[in-house]
Symmetry: C2
Subunit: 341 residues, 2 copies
DNA sequence: TCCCATCGTCAAACCGGTTAACCTAGGGAT
DNA sequence: ATCCCTAGGTTAACCGGTTTGACGATGGGA
């Protein structure tokens, strides 16, 4: 019943503990017959090397951490998150590295979490929800932790970052809508403190040339609904609204319909992040797929490389894809004809 | 720069390593002045005990694991999951226990994950997506791992389980709909292999007395849409549909509207799990809030207790709450009058 | 005055691996 | 014949904590 140790394996195989270790690590040459005896002994005993002993000896936790500082309500409403985790895991699993998750409610809890990770709990961390000027960057640098930032950090940093240029799709989307005849295009952004919200909003403003129809939301459904209502009440109301995520877009869509707006004829809508629901709504919601799974996988790979001693680098991902759907389709024939007349 | 060890603290405080250890653990009495010197030394050096060294010495990983066996796509579409994790974490954080997440794509990967957890990576595990006859239960028992099952396991098991009686709300919902005059009520279930899907479907069948309008979905949006379409094509079509989760319900709602059904007048709809979007849709979707955060927190508490040696027990939670909203409201006045005439 | 219990601390063993240094035997080059 | 190198292994010292047996000092009871 007692778990076998490397010593038990060594005894059964008739060698020393060091030999068993070498047989597995390959750091020293071991003859084929000896290796076979060791493997067999390990197999018969059901030996699995102790994770903590190895961690102690190698000073490697074989784990990476991620601290989530959002409040639980917001976590739940993010469709990006679970898929990203899955991608991360898939990248980590190959290297047998575990993912340590920690939710921190306060700044001090967050600092504590990072501290304990720096002290042997994790070899590196993934920083999400990056702010434009994020205190965590210098803090983690001081802790001597390896980190990967998710998003384009605008300042100097000693860490790798994995980013994508959301502005491209934002512009594509606006171009598409203009092609359909829309002139008043609004944007409901995420909190502008976040680098990705900010980048999307900036692309919008640059392309449109005005902030008149820009509203700052918080990624939650309630803000999507309320800001949509506000925009529809504007004197010269927008005929199209771009949202920084699908949750807000779906809430906006729902509100628009309850007020008897026809989508896309009266109002065109588009989201961002391509929530799993979006393709299945009626009308299906135009959105930008951001492939969170792949993003997670790449992030994991970059982090593992950095932990292994690679030089931090900035990786630009090209995994955004505009998914044009019915919510921004050309106006229905009947209306189109009406417009032509 | 080098991380201070307990030895450094001992030297500065002028005591031995054992004394430092005892000063913190309290397993031996230490005089107040000595203790003060130790604390001060630790403080000044910024000492944080090494996680791996402690884990090795105490044979406690101070971590609990959770293996997610769903495929990434399904993970992303589950609103229950992130909030549950957040709740778990909140229960674990107080005890300074970390949460280890692992995504396993295959049965063998899953077994490997559990094995490595049993060998020092985790002190216990949380089993989600429980099947009615789940291979993991005997497997984990054999590994000697402590576990908590999420959901009502119907057979004997050596583990605690945290469950709730979803049948109550299912019946409430049906009663409510009947009160509104609905006679043909359908149910789109989740995969019937899962204990919770099965329990909900069973409650439905017992209350309705027929399986004619029961359809087995997979919790995904596509299946919600397609099965709704199928149900609406039935000869004597249902006037109300209950879904086993909100994702399917929202897809169903969307489809119904695209076919010009008025909700709730022509068709009443209700989901389960109260997705963050549901309250903000128009019409807002009736659903059953299952408080995943609280569920997670309680699960963590039970697991920690069991790891500490408590006797496994079955905890029945009472945190489901029916949220009646517009999608199952009384028919609109105009229609109701029409009915009365 | 003597004995024993208690308190506070120390020294050393231990947890289960990894790894640097050392040893030995055989083979090829010189 | 000598020298050096390499393959294959052993020994022992770590990694950074926890735990336990031993021990001197103090104090109370008989």
């Amino acid at each position: 019943m007692a778990k076998p140790t490397i010593g038990d394996v060594a005894r059964v195989a008739g060698v020393t503990r060091a030999t068993v270790s070498h047989a597995y690590s390959g750091k020293r040459p071991i003859s084929a017959p000896t290796k076979a005896r060791v493997y067999e002994a390990a197999e018969s005993l059901g030996w699995v090397p102790s994770h903590s002993a190895r961690a102690l000896a190698t000073r490697r936790a074989n784990a990476v951490g991620m601290v989530i500082a959002r409040d639980p309500g917001v976590i739940a409403s993010d469709s990006f998150f679970p898929a990203f985790i899955a991608g991360l895991e898939s990248g980590l699993a190959d290297a047998e590295v575990a993912l340590l998750l920690q939710v921190a409610a306060s700044r001090s809890a967050e600092e504590r979490a990072y501290r304990s990770m720096a002290h042997g709990k994790a070899d590196g961390v993934i920083v999400i929800d990056l702010h434009r000027s994020d205190w965590r960057v210098p803090f983690l640098a001081e802790l001597g932790l390896t980190a990967v930032l998710l998003g384009a950090y605008e300042q100097e940093s000693p860490f790798s970052c994995v980013r994508s240029d959301d502005a491209v799709q934002m512009r594509e989307l606006i171009t598409h809508l203009r092609g359909l005849g829309h002139e008043r295009i609004a944007h409901v952004s995420g909190p502008l403190g976040y680098v990705h919200s900010h980048a999307r909003a900036r692309a919008y403003v640059e392309e449109i040339g005005s902030e008149e129809l820009l509203r700052e939301g918080d990624f939650g459904a309630a803000s999507g609904r309320d800001l949509t209502a506000e925009l529809l009440d504007v004197a010269d109301r927008p005929t199209a609204v771009l949202y920084a995520n699908d949750t807000m877009a779906i809430a906006g869509l729902s509100l628009a319909r309850s007020r008897d707006f026809k989508v896309p004829d009266d109002l065109a809508l588009a989201g961002f992040d391509d929530d799993h629901l979006s393709a299945h709504l009626s009308p299906a919601l135009t959105s930008v797929a951001t492939d969170p799974f792949r993003r997670g996988r790449i992030t994991a790979e970059v982090l593992l490389a950095d932990i292994g001693g690679a030089t931090p680098r900035s990786v630009e991902l090209d995994c955004n894809e505009l998914r044009l759907r019915a919510s921004t389709a050309a106006p229905a024939p009947s209306i189109a004809q009406g417009g032509d007349r």
